[in-house]
């Protein structure tokens, strides 16, 4: 599984199924502060990521 972090660096992680929320917490990221895109599609954080999924984490921009 490839995980693209908010700073655009890429981490390769095991493909074991994991809820995205848990994946974020493992990376030290609060789920409420980010949007997650799995394989090109925005997904809620209770969706499972696994296998060859490409998960991109986008930090919610601040400032209105």
């Amino acid at each position: 599984m490839q995980v693209i972090l908010p700073d655009r660096t890429v981490q390769t992680m095991p493909g074991d199924p994991v809820p995205i929320e848990q994946l974020l917490l493992r990376l030290g990221i609060l789920p409420t502060g980010v949007i997650v895109v799995k394989n090109g599609r925005i997904v809620p954080d209770d969706v499972i990521a696994s296998g060859d999924d490409v998960v991109r984490i986008i930090r919610v921009a601040h400032g209105g």
Partner: protein
């Protein structure tokens, strides 16, 4: 809703209201697709404006448009729902504080959006109004950046809104912003600011402000723009890093994750305090600023005091 229509998608992979894939979980835990998310947000904004009587028929509303995500989202939604109030109209107002490497990009985004929506757009600047830009004012005063900018921007916005004949000013403060402000005012011991309700307006003193997005979380705002294809990636204000708000935001994000509903609780507390402590019962007499007429507790209001301290 599941089954063939969902293209084989299971209940876990679909919106609570249709077979489409979900993009977010709502506050109540429901999964929502892009269509139902945008409908939900627009409904909540509409309800918020109705409950707070934020817009009245015939109102001309000045929409504070920085070009950032919140004000852009607000303009998109207001432009869509404005027909609910007969003869109501909007003019977008953008204030160029003059922050190098930041403001030009957001103003371009603001102009692009208003052109696309066909919304009237009024742009003014600190240089025009106060003689210098914010970068100039903040030399040697960077620690006070947000305070000085906020005070002057509010003055600029009010002046611009009056110049276009607006009856109200709409700002893009979201649920997170509102909760952060409550916590900041408590941390500073600023009861006056906590109790002040800018939505009411005071006769002849300042224009009422409405906050259509105050019931929408920052994350929802962001998602709304993404699914609408209207998000522009812009840098964060360079002065924001030194602000207390950044620390409060981080604290509140953590609290909200571990104790969902914290933001709403803070706002309910604020509203309860406001009911108990009206402006007339605050320490010190309130009267009109000698310079601009705004309600204040001294001879000059905060904006005028700030301008005097900056040598204007």
């Amino acid at each position: 809703m599941a089954g063939k229509e969902g293209g084989g998608r299971t209940g876990e992979d679909q919106c609570a209201f249709c077979p489409e894939p979900p993009v977010i979980r709502s506050g109540s835990g429901e999964r929502l697709c892009a269509r139902h998310l945008t409908a939900d947000i627009e409904r909540r904004v509409r309800d918020n404006l109705r409950v707070t009587r934020g817009i009245a028929p015939g109102d001309h509303v000045a929409v504070a448009l920085s070009g950032g995500k919140d004000s852009s989202c607000m303009l998109l939604i207001l432009n869509r729902i404005l027909g609910e109030w007969a003869d109501a109209s909007i003019t977008a107002i953008t204030i160029d504080e003059g922050i190098a490497g930041y403001r030009d990009g957001t103003i371009r985004a603001a102009c692009s959006l208003t052109r696309r929506l066909g919304v009237r757009h009024h742009v003014t600047s600190f240089s025009e109004l106060f003689g210098h830009d914010l970068d100039h004012f903040l030399q040697g005063r960077e620690q006070r950046a947000c305070t000085i900018c906020g005070v002057l921007r509010r003055r600029a916005l009010a002046d611009a809104a009056r110049s276009v004949g607006a009856a109200r000013i709409a700002t893009g403060h979201n649920l997170d912003d509102e909760a952060q402000s409550v916590l900041m005012n408590i941390l500073r011991g600023d009861l006056a600011r906590l109790a002040q309700d800018s939505t009411t307006g005071l006769p002849g003193c300042f224009l009422p402000r409405i906050k259509p997005l105050s019931v929408i979380s920052e994350r929802e705002v962001f998602t709304y723009l993404l699914v609408k294809g209207c998000y522009t990636d812009l840098p964060e204000c360079p002065y924001a890093r030194s602000a207390l708000r950044s620390e409060v935001r981080a604290m509140l994000d953590e609290l909200e994750y571990r104790h969902p509903g914290t933001r709403e609780s803070l706002i309910r507390s604020r509203d309860a305090i406001r009911k108990q402590v009206g402006p007339a019962s605050l320490p010190g007499d309130l009267h009109a600023c000698q310079s601009c007429g705004a309600m204040c507790s001294g001879e000059l209001c905060q904006a005028c005091r700030t301008l005097r301290s900056l040598g204007i």
